[in-house]
């Protein structure tokens, strides 16, 4: 039990939190900007109402865009106006996280409005939205602000529970291990990942067919190796990411895999959020030991 507590609550610096905050701030900003021209089209009208009705079958308390839209209607605002305000809130929250202004408030706003968009746009959501929710959920609960934020530097704000920095990093690390283990295991169950045909299908499947199939087919001998490598990287993640001897290989391997997915399949934002989560969780201390965590609450440390 003591070892478990020591493992979960090991003191840590806030470097991982800096990476997570800045990374997710960039992610939220790019996510919002990339959807600006289609935001209202994807999230208004019947499709939103059906998605929200289906969501209500599970719970009435999951945040959705219908809430601010209903409020807006009562004060005479159109659906389009409220959707624009929600989009603007996301952009502002993303920029706030990026530079570290009102860190926790920005994290909560980003989590809330992104979740609203992901749930109300249930029919148009995909894996990236899930990972953004996961990242923002942990960011919102972590001890903010961090040393590189403007909150720290200009407003002299300090986190209330800095002793929990290590705990929240562990939670993110453990969650990533579960994600990759199950993702790898599910892939291992499909024959197509062993003979490379799934790599081929993923690369030629619209809308991921960024590279011309005529070019891809010249590399066909690499596909079985790529398929097995993906299974190995994902399934082996929880076993090899903890050891200092294999961590570098696995972290570079997984981040490289996401980079290649981003470039070859056009899934830039999906790749970015995965790289951010991985680097934040396992990046700090990779090349040199982390400095001793800064003691922010002498009385707590002494006790």
């Amino acid at each position: 039990m003591e070892r478990l507590i020591e493992f979960l609550f090991r003191p840590a610096t806030d470097r991982w939190l800096i990476l997570l905050r800045v990374g997710l701030g960039l992610q939220i900003t790019l996510y919002s900007l990339s959807l600006r021209s289609d935001w209202n089209y994807l999230l208004s009208g019947t499709v939103r109402r059906i998605a929200e009705a289906l969501l209500s079958l599970q719970s009435h308390f999951v945040p959705r865009l219908g809430w601010p839209i209903s409020l807006g209607t009562q004060v005479g605002l159109h659906e389009e106006t409220v959707l624009f305000v929600a989009w603007a809130c996301l952009v502002v929250a993303g920029c706030g996280l990026l530079v570290g202004v009102a860190c926790r408030f920005s994290a909560i706003v980003a989590w809330f409005f992104h979740l609203c968009a992901a749930k109300s746009g249930g029919f148009v959501s995909y894996g990236m939205d899930n990972f953004m929710t996961i990242g923002l959920f942990y960011l919102m609960l972590s001890p903010l602000p961090d040393q590189f934020s403007l909150d720290w530097r200009l407003r002299n704000l300090r986190p209330k529970h800095s002793q929990l920095l290590g705990f929240w990093r562990r939670v993110l690390q453990l969650h990533l291990c579960i994600i990759y283990f199950f993702s790898g295991l599910t892939k291992c169950l499909g024959s197509g990942w062993w003979d490379g045909s799934n790599v081929w299908r993923a690369l030629i499947r619209p809308p991921f067919n960024v590279i011309d199939a005529e070019i891809l087919v010249r590399w066909k001998y690499l596909f079985p190796m790529a398929g097995i490598l993906i299974c190995l990287l994902e399934f082996g993640y929880p076993f090899f990411i903890w050891s200092s001897r294999t961590r570098k290989i696995w972290l570079f391997g997984v981040c490289g895999m996401h980079f290649v997915i981003g470039v070859t399949m056009g899934l830039y934002l999906f790749s970015l959020v995965m790289i951010v989560l991985n680097v934040a969780a396992f990046g700090p201390g990779l090349f040199r030991r982390e400095e001793k965590p800064t003691v922010l609450q002498p009385e707590a440390a002494a006790s």
Binding site: S34, L42, I50, L57, F131, I134, F137, T186, C188, N198
Partner: protein, 196 residues
């Protein structure tokens, strides 16, 4: 500690449920005899996770709110166990002068294009005819708004089959299999922006 244990237990449980579902629906490299076990396991896990409770049950609602808020309500089997085919929706626009034009659902950005592909997959995969028709209709309305002089619109949904490497080398390209067609005619005025 208790929160973490419960949180990780939920993450693992939803992941296991989805993996059992994948095996039950197949095909996988596992023997067919495992399918029955997987189906039972998935049902049992869904029950434990409160998915079989009444929608109004407070335990189910609380759990659903938490897992949705934490982004842990699904497993992580993207493109697994195998990469599925995709769907294509084509609108056949009929003009009063008997002219016919073809149009695809239009979006402006690449990021929205990924989401539109997801929507088409949802439309193609749903087993609820009424839901499929409503979703197709809303897309048709947006096309109609861009072409207000159209007399009627036929929406044709098909599945796109992807060739294997061997087939591609022999000259086969993606195939298109017709699934559903919906005819929409304008009885009143064209759809307004607020309808979609």
């Amino acid at each position: 500690m208790a929160w973490l244990a419960l949180h990780l237990l939920l993450v693992v449980s939803f992941s296991c449920r989805d993996i059992f579902r994948v095996v039950a629906e197949g095909p996988t490299i596992l023997p067919v005899s495992v399918k029955n076990f997987s189906h039972k396991s998935e049902t049992a896990l869904s029950t434990v996770l409160g998915q079989k409770l009444l929608a109004s049950n407070p335990v189910r609602e609380a759990l659903a709110t938490y897992v949705q808020g934490g982004g842990i309500e699904t497993g992580y089997g993207y493109f697994a166990p195998n990469v599925p085919g995709t769907y294509r929706l084509v609108f056949e626009l009929h003009y009063p002068d008997e002219r016919v034009e073809y149009e695809l659902p239009s979006i402006r950005s690449g990021a929205a294009g990924l989401r539109m592909a997801g929507l088409l997959d949802n439309i193609g995969r749903t087993s609820y005819d009424a839901l499929r028709e409503i979703l197709v209709k809303t897309l048709a309305q947006s096309v109609w708004r861009d072409h207000p002089d159209v007399k009627s619109v036929r929406a044709i949904l098909g599945s796109v089959g992807l060739p294997s490497i061997g087939e591609f080398e022999k000259g086969t390209r993606e195939s298109y299999e017709f699934l559903y067609a919906y005819d929409f005619s304008l009885k009143n005025k064209p759809a307004t922006p607020r309808d979609r």
